[in-house]
Symmetry: C2
Subunit: 399 residues, 2 copies
């Protein structure tokens, strides 16, 4: 009674698969600093929770497959504030940004088709590539180069007759790199030349530091028909559990196909869409103090990690992650050991091993992803614990 | 800039694609009786809405990929009341029953593999089969036979080396047929003989009339490892907009694969899971008056339709749909005409044309699906309007 090949080969989430070890440590009374998952600790804004709490329909019924018009208009309005002109009918509301990824994958590519993704990449692309039976073609980036996009030739070396799309995430999860207009333009040019789609995961749009501005793939007029942007309220408004995202495209054929896939699953959650409308009505002024808070945290984590001997890390410009090379041979073992064997005054740290963020086998075994979703005090303490753990691991396990 | 083949060929939902005509009629001041979609008019139970309104977490954060343990335990407890023994770890919470269908499809079959589905079938299986790149192999049932399952030989004539599963929906959408223990046992035997999975869509479990009892595929001990049941709170608790369902299996390998797919999309909505826990805590005593209400509605709709000359319909035993043969050549045209051209005292009726519920091209063109999700008075009036529309259509358009 064998299950499908894709069911056998789909990757377990490297962010979530170590949870049982964490649960055991917690049951043991251990305090864990969670740097492994991007679950923000910033309180969900009151208007969002108020919208939930004031839900007063007599029947919690289906909404439209593409999402409520009012929400799609609100999102178009939000992009207008960034100088990007969209119609409500360019916006399809999805079950988190996650579903937008799946719909984009299935709409641009058939089973066996290829999508090029610079690695390390958001590991959950793997799960959706398995589900949609696509082949992920990784293009390796390096921490020493700040994970910048490579020259066009390196992309072109990966393009085959089956290549259908290039996936770009900016601000990047897991590296924190924010692509420049020049970098994005390079990929747009390639997409036009080779007739490819570009899937842009821009869910960390507001998390951009050093006074820089996020550039969206939607700003490239010459790629109007080629771009599908994945968006989400999860990080922007600290409401990851809401499961409201969007797939955005100006290609009507792409939109029509995504809408048909969306019809099969009926609709996004009704209550959270109302909450999302309330969120967008707040205006993005709300976000400025949040951005400053994350920028401070980034600085704390970056300085702390940089000071550890053998650690290689570049200061990222966005999102709330860092890809960090650490002086151990296998970070999966290290992560488990930190949860099962190491405590400093009853505390330990959980990070995500980064091999699962690579498509190339064997890559990333000496890297971790660290998320700075804790307040500064917790982050400083987490750094002390992490450093002590790393030193002990090297002195005892990898001695 | 072509999109994928699956994106080009995925079916538009025949339940939802005529909505623009309905919207235009409404804008025109027309009152429409909606018999096209199974969106119940029964108020959502208060404990569910109370759970939503009392959501008081400071952060609307991620939950576990498999859903909250408390909810999985509640669902296991619910099945226990039906004499079905499950562990919480047999239950994976999904984004509506819809996502459970997708996960089941992708876990049992690879692109190009076949799944056998008796037709007419719930049309949204098509969307998910396209997404997962599976081939739906339909097995035609007939209204004259009450849409009963055919003898084993008719199933076997459809089995090929690529067949991976048989999909059964009971109580059935769109036919309302409830399969007997003998019918289900026939399919279980076939599945064992040919080494197939059985995907059981049982979301209408409580909607069974005439004092009959629903039989679940989970009751067949000999198929323990082969069965995946799709469940949902949508119809059971009148909360279709909540998007909380479940995929249930005792096959650990199937569960593990579905969980990995689930990890890619992070988690089901947090607030509605809390609402679902409250729902199950009510106990199913809540449901008995609801069942009686639907049984009365079924009788009203059945009697009304039976009385129309040329209409062929069998009295269904469950769910809240009827598959109805009507004396027109193309029910798609008829449905559109009812929305654009026909009014009786400013009213019209919307039903779903049934060709989209068939996998065999050309089938079902003289059939509709009617849902009895309106109160008795509205249903009686809808019948008057429908009958008048049908007669005028035959006298003018198909004259």
């Amino acid at each position: 009674m064998d299950i499908s090949r894709r069911g056998q080969t789909v990757q377990a989430s490297p962010i979530r698969k170590f949870k049982p070890y964490a649960d055991a440590a917690i049951a043991d009374g251990v305090k864990i600093f969670f740097l492994n998952i991007g679950d923000p600790d910033i309180p969900t804004p009151k208007p969002i929770l108020d919208a939930v709490r004031s839900f007063n329909d007599p029947i919690l019924g289906y909404g439209p497959a593409q999402g409520f018009l009012e929400l799609r208009q609100a999102i178009a309005g939000y992009f207008k504030d960034y100088g990007i002109s969209l119609k409500a009918d360019n916006v399809l509301i999805t079950l988190g940004g996650s579903e937008a990824i799946l719909m984009a994958f299935a709409t641009v590519a058939d089973p066996g088709d290829e999508i090029i993704i610079p690695e390390p990449f958001y590991t959950n692309y793997n799960g959706y590539a398995s589900l949609a039976a696509l082949k992920v073609v990784p293009l390796t980036l390096k921490v020493e180069d700040g994970f910048r996009l490579p020259p066009a030739e390196e992309f072109e070396a990966k393009i085959t007759p089956r290549t259908r799309a290039i996936v770009l995430c900016s601000p990047n999860n897991p590296t924190g790199t924010v692509y420049t207009a020049e970098e994005l333009g390079r990929v747009v040019k390639l997409a036009v030349k080779h007739n490819l789609f570009i899937i842009g995961d821009e869910v960390y749009k507001e998390f951009v530091y050093n006074g820089r501005r996020h550039i969206s793939l939607l700003e490239f007029e010459e790629a109007r028909d080629r771009v599908i942007v994945v968006d989400s309220i999860s990080k922007r408004f600290s409401c990851c559990g809401a499961r409201v995202g969007a797939a955005i495209t100006r290609n009507d054929q792409v939109y029509a196909a995504m809408l048909k896939f969306a019809q099969a699953r009926l609709c996004p959650p009704t209550i959270e869409q109302r909450a999302a409308i309330a969120a967008y009505k707040m205006g993005m002024g709300y976000f400025e103090p949040v951005r400053r808070e994350y920028e401070r945290r980034r600085d704390v984590l970056f300085e702390g990690l940089s000071a550890i001997p053998g650690v290689v890390v570049r200061k990222p410009e966005g999102a709330f992650y860092m890809s960090v090379r650490v002086p151990v041979r296998d970070t999966e073992k290290f992560v488990i050991w930190m949860l099962t064997d190491f405590r400093l005054d009853g505390q330990t740290v959980m990070v995500a091993p980064e091999s699962g963020f690579y498509g190339t086998p064997g890559k990333g075994k000496d890297e971790i992803r660290a998320a700075y979703v804790l307040n500064e005090d917790d982050l400083r303490r987490a750094l002390v614990v992490f450093r002590a753990g790393l030193e002990k691991y090297k002195a005892t396990v990898e001695k």
